[in-house]
Amino acid sequence: MNKVKQKDLILYSGLIILGLAAPYLFSAFKVQLTYLCVLIVLAMTWNLQGGEMGYNTFGNILFYGLGMYLTASVQVGMFFPLAEWTESGGEKTFVHTTAQYFQGIGVGLLVSAIVPAIVAGAIGYAILGLRGHYFAICTLGLGIAAGEIAGGIEIIGAGQGFTTPPFPAEIVDTEARGKFFYFLSFALLIGTFVFVKYIYGSRFRLILNAIRDNEDKAEAMGIQTMKYKIVGWMCSAFFCGLAGGIMGGLIGYIDSTDVAFDGREMGVFMVLMAILGGKGTLWGPVIGATLFHFFKEGLWTLILGWQYVALGVLIVVIVVYFPEGLMGWLREKYPERFGEVIDDKDRKAQVELK
């Protein structure tokens, strides 16, 4: 046991060092690395519902978009009238001082973690009674509806979009902005990972799994499934909101349907990444998101105009050949490495059966 822990320790410290050094090693790739952190966070939190609890949600994008708008609104609203900031597509210009900028984004992120979690609780209370396809379709509607509603609210820019406060001009170093958002997202990634890992070692995960495997039986065992489902979703919303807040600041321009409530891209990507890596595992979403991001950034530009066709093919390949994701596939191929003991007789019997 101790030995394994030591190996883990080496792995984790290695990854953290790599993460901390990355923006210096690959200075030109800071933005892509920030995206990677956020994508991993989204995949990991989706996995809590889709993988562990068996509730395929398309609604997590709601919390992501909510976080984005909240962070930006708080950051502006704390110091300037928000309505004037966004009026006529943001014609008036107010300038944040360095201190205001960081105070604003700090408070904004705090709000964007708490409010989406509360919203998840409220919506969850209403719709987590639905199961299977019904839940999936219902959550699909959430993101789309939110996008359309946000596109009509004048105070957050409506259809004109919301330009988030620019990084303070007093900081002359052009690299500072990239580093700031990278480390912010990296911190979020570590926080999310630690939290999810903690859940993996807890009774909470077993309850989520019980809900996935047989909800009625779980209820019959005396588990208040509704309570756990809601709490699980609130946890995801907490981190999704933070991810959205960071992304809003990084992108610099929030559009209701294309950037914030971007169900067509981010909403689908988070599901895809988790499934690609292997849902229901700790490392699956991490690996899936990393591979997906590299695939996207590396190949996307080589096949200009055809990238969504390639994405479609990728989805088909994943679903047909790796239904359990990469982790699931590896587990089936090398079960010993996952600590599963397989009886030799049993294996022979299986071979004979084939």
Binding site: G151, G159, Q160, D258
Partner: protein, 413 residues
């Protein structure tokens, strides 16, 4: 688990190595080439206009390179453009701008298509002090932000249809008119709306319908039903290419009678070809028309440009292509006057731009918008089944009389 961990570490280090070897970025000027970068919408909802933009850029690059290129410090350089597909998504566009600048080492940018995407890219180019000449971001708010490295060869969006309201008031004997308007929820169209609001206030007109339509506009029947009931004097619609096509399709299907119909993006939607006689009498705002008498030595006149463009790409150039071509002419001119590849020198030269191109006169105002060129209005007119766009305003360029009011559907054959 530990094996997996090893595998994971190995793959990460492999990726790391691969990345390091890729990091060596290109130079802004490579050999004989000046490298420009552009994120452009090749897929997604702006794809047709994205392609118009790209064709315009490519046409100008070919032409300038063929005619001797750009001369800087006695040496001839050629233009080259690195394109990425921004998928009509502001998030992607901002990321790609960063990529062009940081990884591909681009020092000069060409704009994307649409105001929303330009809004997303401008903060990035501004941060790295990269001069960007853009031809398709018309939103007024782009020019009030104090951007120093943003230059637009086009007139701001709020000017698009203001003239149309003036025309309607004039036809109404100087009295205010009743306006019905429907705009897509997008940065550009909402800016056109602001222009109408200003014009309505100025002329004492009343806005009786003010609808917002969803993106990727495929249906506006609800708005049209209201128009049928309230009988406004002018109907204004703006929603990029799809908006223009949808409007004409449903107006003709529902036989909506309105004395004046003002729109944007008629020529990008190839309205007169796609809908033929149904689109007759539609009044369209345009940045450019081939019949205008501007000239330059690269493309000759607008007519010549249209002919060459038709030969190369097989369709009549919409103004989106023309203004994109003009952006390259502006860059060439600025490089030659700066006589340097220093970004700030090029930027200063851009500020002083004052030139005529086949597309129109170009001179940048303090916010970076083009102040030397007026918007024009054309009207779709048909002879038999053959429809074309004729300029009707401003009077200086008008080749035809403005036809008003639009005959009722029952009287149209």
């Amino acid at each position: 688990m530990n094996k997996i961990a090893k595998l994971f570490i190995t793959s990460i280090s492999a990726i790391t190595l691969a990345l390091v070897s890729f990091t060596s970025s290109f130079a802004k000027v490579e050999g004989d080439y000046i490298v420009l970068g552009s994120a452009i919408s090749l897929t997604g909802k702006y794809s047709s206009n994205g392609v118009h933009t790209q064709n315009g850029y490519n046409m100008a690059v070919d032409r300038i390179n063929k005619m001797g290129g750009v001369e800087v410090q006695g040496k001839k350089y050629k233009f080259e453009i690195i394109y990425y597909d921004d998928e009509s998504n502001p998030k992607r566009a901002a990321q790609l701008a960063e990529r062009l600048i940081k990884q591909d080492g681009v020092h000069y940018m060409l704009g994307p298509y649409s105001s929303g995407l330009t809004k997303a890219i401008a903060p990035v180019t501004e941060k790295y002090k990269i001069p960007m000449v853009e031809a398709n971001g018309a939103s007024r708010s782009l020019f009030t932000k104090g951007y120093k490295y943003l230059f637009a060869v086009l007139s701001p969006a709020n000017q698009y249809l203001e003239v149309a309201i003036d025309l309607a008031v004039e036809k109404n004997g100087g009295k205010g008119v009743k306006i019905a308007q429907a705009f897509e929820q997008d940065a550009f169209s909402q800016d056109v709306r602001l222009g109408i609001l200003d014009a309505a206030k100025r002329t004492g007109s009343e806005i009786i319908i003010d609808d917002k339509l969803p993106k990727e506009l495929n249906d506006m029947a609800a708005t049209l039903a209201k128009v049928k009931a309230t009988k406004p004097d002018v109907l204004v619609v703006s929603g990029h290419t799809k908006g223009a096509l949808t409007a004409i399709r449903q107006i003709s299907e529902m036989k909506v009678d309105v004395p004046m119909l003002a729109m944007t993006h008629c020529d990008a939607a190839k309205l007169s070809k796609q809908h033929g006689k149904k689109s007759e009498y539609a009044l369209c705002a345009s940045q450019w028309h081939k019949n205008l008498s501007y000239k330059d030595k690269f493309f000759g006149s607008g007519k010549k440009y249209a002919k060459d463009f038709q030969k190369e790409f097989g369709y009549d150039p919409p103004y989106q292509s023309a203004e994109s071509s003009a952006a390259l002419l502006v860059f060439k001119d600025a490089f030659e006057r700066a006589n340097s590849f220093d970004r700030d020198a090029v930027r200063d030269a851009l500020v002083d731009t004052e030139m005529q191109t086949f597309y129109g006169n170009i001179k940048f105002g303090p916010g970076g918008q083009n102040v030397a060129k007026p918007m024009i209005l054309f009207q779709v007119r048909c002879k038999g089944d053959d429809c074309e766009n004729r300029v009707v305003a401003p009077t200086k360029w008008a080749s035809d009389k403005f036809y008003h009011p639009i005959p009722k559907w029952s009287e149209r054959s």
